[in-house]
Symmetry: C2
Subunit: 155 residues, 2 copies
């Protein structure tokens, strides 16, 4: 066995979406769906001191465990598409390491609870890390490969 690394949840998501099926794939979500989608991230008390200073940031990067994903696949067919793509060219949850990443808007902080919008996570999702979103994460003139084809109007 190759050397691995073990991570422990530092918190949990409180979301109106209780099951994976409650969340539309981004390409099929109504306009502004995720913008309006709000919830909370509760950080466990052992880690609460690590949040100090986060409230000054408008956006946070949330790393989480895709705890409801199926077996890992190397090729996946994205929702609404017919051609399989390499899983690392998609944001599919069925990854060799089921690590998820979302950039969320930080609406406020009440102690160890973060109010967020842009939420695309289901209730109970284990949180592994929170990072501030900075200018270095914001790239211009991006190309988005297969995602750029067959775009729906208004997106």
């Amino acid at each position: 066995m190759k050397p691995g690394v073990r991570f422990q949840p530092i918190g949990v998501v409180r979301s109106p979406y209780k099951e994976p099926a409650d969340l539309p794939p981004p390409a099929f979500a109504p306009p502004r769906f995720f913008e309006r989608s709000a919830g909370e991230i509760e950080i466990f008390s052992d880690f609460a001191a690590g949040l100090d200073g986060l409230e000054g940031f408008s956006h946070i990067i949330v790393l989480f465990h895709f705890h409801r994903s199926g077996p890992a696949k190397l090729k996946v067919v994205p929702p609404g598409r017919s051609k399989p793509r390499g899983v690392f060219a998609t944001r599919s949850p069925h990854r060799p390491n089921p690590l998820g990443l979302s950039v969320l808007r930080l609406l406020g902080r009440d102690g160890r609870v973060l109010e967020v919008s842009g939420l695309d996570l289901i209730d109970g999702t284990p949180i592994l890390d929170i990072k501030p979103y900075t200018g270095r994460d914001r790239k211009s003139h991006i190309r988005t490969g297969w995602l750029q084809k067959k775009r729906r109007p208004g997106r």
Copy 2:
């Protein structure tokens, strides 16, 4: 013990920086330092098929293990600062879960080797996941809290 999750490296970084000390903190790097900083990410052959389609993206999100980090801290003093901040309000490697994230420019792909720039990782860093950088990761009108204070000119 709380339930945890175990991840295995899917690849490794080939970088000109051999030690953590070889990399300047972003706030102290010369202008365009990271833009010019290039290297490779080698994905292990078991996972190579997962890369198909990634070459169409200009930027990738790389999740890695901070394998040279010290013990976790909840408060850290960022380089060049005097005030301690919660670790989740910083990009410090000394995190409860030593997970790192960099958004890199994808210059090209040669089989299971990705040529990248923007590299801020040391040689031998274990890679846990690669994701395409999409429009949903690009946020406008961001506020960056304590980072916005005491900015150096030209940054």
